[in-house]
Symmetry: C2
Subunit: 196 residues, 2 copies
């Protein structure tokens, strides 16, 4: 038994080879997604490309959805960076309303861009918890800056909901609504909610 007491229950340190494999897998997956498209990426393929056994994939990333979520997370993180410290109006420096509007447009485009990946990542992935709550927090913050009062968490959720892929997909692929109209509709919604 080691001498130190487990003050905080750390999430288990992960062995060196494990970390190496995780990275190899993620890299392989990213490469395959880019070259062949999401639909053609099977777990066996990724395993082969990464030079590991299939079992390893599933130990590191729970499921196919989990792996896809991890791949998606790559670009998601970059996007979050833009929001937090990128150039205005998306990043800080612009008036709150401008930022909010820019945020919505950006999210819209981003979601549409990664549509396939988002679908493959599935809903119940760890993606939701992270991505959704980041977006929600940011919108809540901007609503606060705008002086909006009320249940901000609910309000933020309401603003974010129409930007979810389920909704967007229906509008774009089934109803063939133009992007500009969706954007305009969202702007309108925002203005009504903030009471401008």
């Amino acid at each position: 038994m080691t001498h130190l007491l487990p003050l905080a229950d750390e999430p288990a340190p992960e062995r060196a080879d494990a970390a190496r494999n995780r990275e190899a897998i993620l890299a392989a997956a990213l490469r395959l997604v880019r070259t062949r498209g999401v639909g053609c990426v099977t777990m066996d393929t990724v395993a082969a490309e990464a030079g590991v056994g299939k079992g390893t994939l599933f130990r590191r990333f729970e499921s196919r959805e989990g792996l896809m979520a991890a791949v998606l997370n790559e670009s998601e993180t970059a996007w979050q960076g833009q929001v937090i410290s990128g150039p205005p109006p998306l990043g800080p420096g612009a008036p709150p309303l401008d930022r909010l509007l820019a945020f919505g447009h950006s999210r819209l485009r981003t979601n549409l861009t990664h549509a396939e990946l988002i679908a493959a990542a599935g809903r119940p992935g760890a993606r939701s918890a992270a991505a959704v709550s980041f977006a929600n927090m940011h919108v809540r913050y901007l609503l606060g800056e705008l002086g909006v009062t009320g249940d901000l968490l609910m309000l933020a959720t309401a603003l974010l909901a129409p930007l979810e892929m389920v909704v967007l997909d229906q509008q774009v692929n089934a109803e063939h609504i133009a992007l500009e109209r969706i954007e305009a509709g969202w702007d309108d919604l925002v203005r009504r909610v903030v009471g401008a």
Copy 2:
């Protein structure tokens, strides 16, 4: 060759045995979903229960998602009946705002009740096209009655979006938000949108 000219291109009449099988399959699926829960219903099981070959399932209902969508559609239709001709405030007879609020609450509960089935029916099913557009149309109508002006299709979509299962699931299962709060949040959203 028959004598009559195909004035309208009818969707092919469906043979007697085909119709019989479709019904048997649907009934079997419904029964199994009720007794064992959605997760335990495999296509082979349904086929056995209905006394047909597996191939038949896939010819009638495209995919597992399609079959689940058909099962779901059963209760969906009943619900639409309530909205169109049921007792107020959900049905006709109450003031538009009351109807709209009742509509939202009802949809919320219904979605939550059929959560599993909705998940199993998947997004890209024919379910969207029908169910979503019915709801949208109804909300649009009520917004009209309330004298709201603007892009009603977008507005209706915005009001419906927070009631989608993707959003609800996140709120209920991940963030553990109470139902009452979600309802109150939606009511608030509605009031802001209609400008009351």
